[in-house]
Amino acid sequence: MVALPMLEAMSPAVARAATESAPMRMLFMNTPNGAHMPDWTPAEKGANYSLPKTLKALEPYREYVSVISGLTLDGARAHGDGGGDHARSGASFLTGSHPRKTDGTDIQNSVSVDQVAAQNNGHLTRFASLELGLQGSAQAGNCDSGYSCSYSSNMSWRNSTSPLAKEVNPAAVFDRIFGSENVADAAQAKASRNSQRKSVLDFVLEDANRIHKDVSAADRRKMDEYLYAIRDVEKRLTHSDKLKVGEDGVPNFPRPAGIPREFSDHCKLMMDMTAIALQTDSTRIATFMLLNEGSNRPYPEIGVSEGHHDVSHHGKSEDKQAKVQKINQFHVEHLAYLVGLLAGVQEQGKSMLENTMFVYGSGISDGDRHNHDDLPILLIGKAGGRIKRGSHFGFDKDTPLCNLYVWMLSQVGVKVASFGDSNGSLKIS
């Protein structure tokens, strides 16, 4: 039995609804420089905890919100490499590995949890995963103590050497999901354009294969990246069509004009795009770097005119800690915006959050101490009912954050013996 092909390709969410259960979504969002923990960690454990000051904005979605305390990101610790906690915790947040200290030569991290999921399940959607953010890569200078800026600007890693750059322009995300050409033109030229594109891509693949044969190991890595990128893009160009705004089951959202000036507008627009990508089942896996790790952005809009990184080194100053808390809360208010969007999407009569696992947090706990234990971590969503009601889970000191990832992977059918520095699977359901 064959489903209507065009429809299935164009709006899988619609086609699927009749037959299959709603898919599980996996999201990861970071917040830089740690958090002011006293206003983050709930006083009570268990399902009846109440949200502390920093997390208050999540109150409407309280039943979906779990706070997971006690987790540790050992890979971000120095292990003899000295300073660079920001670069390390950015790079290791989703990989759990200890990135090699280098400004460029022999960059080494390891594959991130979202990419493990994408490599297993990514073929089910047009985009195996989406990597989003609000801040491009650093432009100059040192990012952090002798670590290349790749580490602090990328949290999704396809393998140990290839970070996946993030898209920071909401309009570009829109254009990747939705076709912009007018429909008549498209029908006329699409087929022959696709076949021409394919001939061009076949041509350059052969070029790359020729070069690949006789180069050094470092060069070969670059050619491997090239080959992977071409094949990945080719799948999308030739195997499935972009969605058309306004077609059945696709939300009618206007194309963003570009990158809004205000952080808040930019963030919300990117979150709109994230929600649309999930809602249309263009992808089921997304990472969203709120800001690059170590960000020193000031927040005059909420009365913090110092840079975030500067105040995070509060030296116990009450004033600075209050400012850190303000920034944390500001970020969580934006998080709540996205959670609200997801909560509003109904699938088979239920909120999308029922089938979501959304990790929000930081690889640093206290920004002043740069400690990587007792991290601020939220898990939002009920993971297909595995979590009955959002709770405050407390784990023993030094429980690896990666144990959470092992648990999450098993929820999407990816059985791994271990991931990163995990020593088991978190018991949260």
């Binding site: 064959v2 209507l4 092909p5 065009m6 003899g80 000295g82 300073g83 660079g84 400004d103 460029g104 030569t105 960059i107 990597e131 890569s137 650093a138 432009q139 100059a140 200078g141 040192n142 002798g146 290349s148 800026c149 790749s150 600007s153 396809r158 290839s162 970070p163 996946l164 750059a165 993030k166 898209e167 920071v168 029908a187 006329q188 087929a191 022959s192 001939s199 061009v200 350059v204 070069i211 180069v215 470092a218 060069d219 670059k222 990246e225 090239y226 990128a229 990945d232 893009v233 020193n296 005059p300 005119s305 840079g307 080194h313 030296g315 116990k316 100053s317 002043d368 101490r369 740069h370």
Partner: protein, 785 residues
């Protein structure tokens, strides 16, 4: 003192901290460096008699065997040679010895004298290179074009300025620059943008003929009849045995039409259904549906037809079933969902007088009754591919491109459309996107020159961030680029070409971290005169000033203390400099102003400040990193502030309290006085004598021992006492930028040679460039250690 060490001991990055017993180290290092190269028997005997035992006492209580502390075992190093086999490990050991936190407090203390001796010995062992022999010139990982290079290259070759390249995902920074081969990734996201760019750029460069008349007939499926072996509905034609459908079409003109089929199918032994298409009973295409079962696949089949009636037949030709009575097994079927015929009448090539400049430059031949498509394409592609691939291109390689375009034209694409396609293929080829160099043979035991085209490419991307032009290519062809006179002429020519503006922007923008100005948002209440206009003007000032020194072949020391700068009226007003009129930047004397050189530019003073106040630590760090090339070691792990009370008092007092902590003092003694000397400039670089009512105290003692009262003294000391470190810093940054890799210990000899040339020419900029371009790391291929 500190600065003196680095003159003698190249490895400033591994420089020992202040606490060293200077005299001892100096004599020690000096005696080693003076004995050209490495005397291994001496090293080994030093190891076995002194330093081996010292390492054992200091480290081997913990760093032994499988359970070694921190996973770092040191007990398998039995000789000096064995240490150089694991440089990385011992770089760590050296760093910890220098920082002073190893051995830890609770271990047997290491005698300070022994510590210094050990540091000096290891430093020399790890970093001294024998310049007498041919040192390894290193290897550069193939570099992808940065977004700036991509844009410039296509502007220069095709005449298309693709501004959207700015939106390519960022090229991550390593070693302070965004053009480092190892760090330049190519994620799928970027490939998608490259594909869009190639399509947009080729269609901007080349104009297509106005489309002629066209047809597009979508055939309703239910009108087809199957004699046997299948079923027809409004949405699908299912063929479950070998069968076919046919229809008649009246071609309105002679030419190429396209049959679009959307199909899917089931497979037997993993082989999908085969479709045969015939026109007037002649089979002209066979296609196999390869898409996974349940997924559809689109086929686009060109049909060449004369004007008039034709019968088109679509058949399923490889039916097969291995099903048993229970329906178990495999059955190959074909489903067709869409049948469409379309095409447009081909148009004659465009009249060259009606096309854009880029089109005229590229399309230098068109097919005619006497010139075949292939011949015309050959004329167009041959010169283009050489520029795009930056090397001579073998005929067979060019032919592949021509074939690609010719095939498309044959299938109904216009001639210009074929050229667009060829351009797309070239723009997406790794030969264009990467600066590919012939690999050094793995078994080579020498260090061969990069070839002349590779050299031209290295030079042009260094000085223009773009591809070589005709003149450079010509010199490469005639193998003249290594002629010293020719090279010197070319450097001069290239720097005086407008294209070198991107060198100033990219190099100085990153070296002096001016690009970070984009993210600098000072508090508007505290600094009301700063705004985004001033920010751009301040950046412009520094770029114009650096450009003046570089392109004017002045001494690079002018950067430190020139008594002039470039201002326009608005920026002069911001600074409070009188007498500057007009919007154009002009050279302005600073004789009566408290400013000299780049360290007093608003751009640099701002980019090293916090949003609400100056940061003497950041400014000091900037001077160490980018002026003196002595980046301080990172802060010690485990942050001791935790245990301490909050810092109080004036900024200077807070900094001093911070420094009272011995764990911090080592580095902050280096950074703070350099930054405090600049305290008369506020967070946006304006002159001040008071901060929050208190008079500014900019005095201090520099790490090298000089007393300074204010910025003027600091700048004078830098210029007179540290000219060598500054120039070496600039040379190293230029080398990183030009090579696209970090510098390694084996690059020492090349830098030394360049420095020797620089000193003889009073540090004139062209000499620096010349020295870098003729150095072995730039000219030759080595390997990666």
């Amino acid at each position: 003192m500190l600065f003196l060490i680095s003159i003698l001991n190249y490895s400033t990055k591994r420089r020992a901290p202040l606490t060293l017993l200077m005299v001892f180290v100096l004599t020690f290092v000096f005696s080693l460096s003076s004995s050209l190269g490495t005397d291994w028997p001496v090293r080994e005997s030093e190891f076995s008699s002194k330093f081996g035992p010292l390492l054992t006492t200091a480290c081997m209580d913990c760093h032994v065997g499988a359970e070694a502390s921190g996973g770092l075992a040191l007990d398998h190093f039995k000789t000096a040679t064995s240490i150089t086999k694991e440089r990385g490990t011992f770089e760590k050991v050296l760093k910890r010895l220098e920082i002073g936190d190893m051995p830890p407090d609770d271990a047997e203390p290491l005698d300070p004298k022994d510590r210094e001796a050990l540091i000096a010995w290891m430093d020399s062992l790890l970093h001294d290179v024998d310049c007498g022999k041919e040192p390894n010139p290193g290897a550069v990982t193939i570099r992808r074009l940065t977004k700036y290079e991509y844009r410039n290259t296509l502007r220069d070759i095709l005449g298309v300025d693709y501004a959207k390249a700015e939106e390519f995902p960022g090229d991550d920074v390593g070693y302070g620059f965004d053009n480092i081969g190892d760090v330049l990734n190519l994620p799928p996201l970027l490939m998608e943008k490259y594909i869009n760019a190639a399509e947009e750029i080729s269609s901007t460069a080349i104009k297509l003929p106005e489309p002629g008349p066209s047809i597009s007939n979508n055939y309703p499926l239910e009108r087809f009849k199957l004699e046997r072996g299948g079923r027809v509905t409004a949405t699908e034609i299912l063929m479950y045995s070998n069968t076919s459908i046919e229809f008649e079409e009246n071609a309105p003109w002679s030419g190429v039409f396209h049959l679009e089929l959307v199909a899917s199918g089931t497979k037997v032994r993993n082989i999908g259904p085969e479709i045969a298409v015939a026109v007037d009973d002649k089979v002209i295409a066979r296609k196999i549906v390869n898409a996974p079962e349940g997924k559809d696949e689109t086929f686009d089949i060109p049909l060449r037809m004369k004007a008039g009636k034709h019968t088109i037949k679509i058949g399923f030709v490889n039916d097969e079933s291995s099903k048993d009575e229970n329906g178990k097994g495999e059955d190959r079927n074909l489903n067709i969902f869409v049948i469409r015929l379309y095409g447009s009448k081909s148009q004659p090539p465009l009249d060259p007088t009606t096309v854009p400049e880029s089109h005229r430059r590229i399309v230098i031949a068109t097919p005619s009754a006497y010139v075949s498509n292939e011949e015309a394409l050959q004329k167009v592609i041959s010169p283009l591919i050489v520029y795009l691939y930056r090397r001579p291109v073998p005929a067979a390689e060019t032919k592949r491109i021509i074939d690609l375009a010719a095939k498309a034209i044959d299938e109904g694409e216009s001639y210009e459309g074929g050229i667009q396609l060829a351009i797309q293929a070239m723009l997406l080829s790794p030969n264009f996107l990467f600066k590919i160099e012939e690999p050094r043979r793995a078994d080579a035991n020498d260090f061969p020159f990069v070839n002349d085209f590779e050299l031209a490419t290295r030079i042009s991307y260094f000085l223009w961030s773009s591809s070589p032009d005709k003149e450079l290519f010509t010199l490469a062809w005639s193998k003249k680029l290594r002629d010293p006179q020719v090279l010197a002429q070319q450097i001069k020519r290239m720097l005086n070409d407008p294209r070198s503006a991107t060198f100033i922007e990219n190099f100085a923008g990153q070296w002096l971290t001016l690009r970070k100005l984009d993210n600098f948002e000072p508090n508007a209440n505290l600094f009301p005169t700063w705004n985004s206009d001033v920010r751009e003007l301040a950046r412009q000032e520094t770029l114009m000033f650096v450009s003046d020194v570089f392109r004017g072949n002045q001494s690079v020391l002018e950067l430190l203390d020139a008594d002039y700068t470039y201002l326009n009226d608005r920026l002069a007003k911001f600074y409070g400099v009188p007498g500057v009129r007009g919007n154009d930047f002009q050279k302005v004397s600073l004789a009566s102003q408290p400013r000299r050189g780049i360290l007093t530019h608003a751009s640099i003073l701002a980019v090293t400040s916090n949003p609400t106040r100056t940061s003497p630590v950041k400014r000091g760090r900037f001077v160490l990193d980018n002026i003196l090339n002595q980046p301080p070691p990172p802060p010690p792990p485990g942050v001791p502030e935790l245990e301490k009370a909050e810092l109080t008092g004036s900024l200077r007092q807070q900094i001093e309290q911070h420094r009272a902590n011995p764990a911090c003092a080592g580095c902050h003694k280096l950074m703070d006085p350099l930054g405090l000397a600049l305290e008369n400039y506020d967070a946006v670089g304006l002159w001040r004598t008071k901060d929050r009512g208190e008079p500014i105290d900019a005095t201090g003692v520099l790490p090298s021992g000089e007393n300074v009262r204010h910025a003027g003294d600091l700048i004078k000391v830098l210029r007179t006492e540290h000219a060598e470190e500054f120039t070496r810093c600039l040379v190293e940054k230029l080398m990183i930028y030009s090579l696209g890799r970090g510098l390694e210990y084996y690059d020492k000899c090349a830098v030394d040679q360049i420095m020797a040339m620089a000193e003889k020419s009073d540090y004139r900029f062209y000499t620096l460039l010349y020295g870098i371009i003729q150095s072995d790391p730039f000219q030759r291929k080595g390997y990666r250690e």
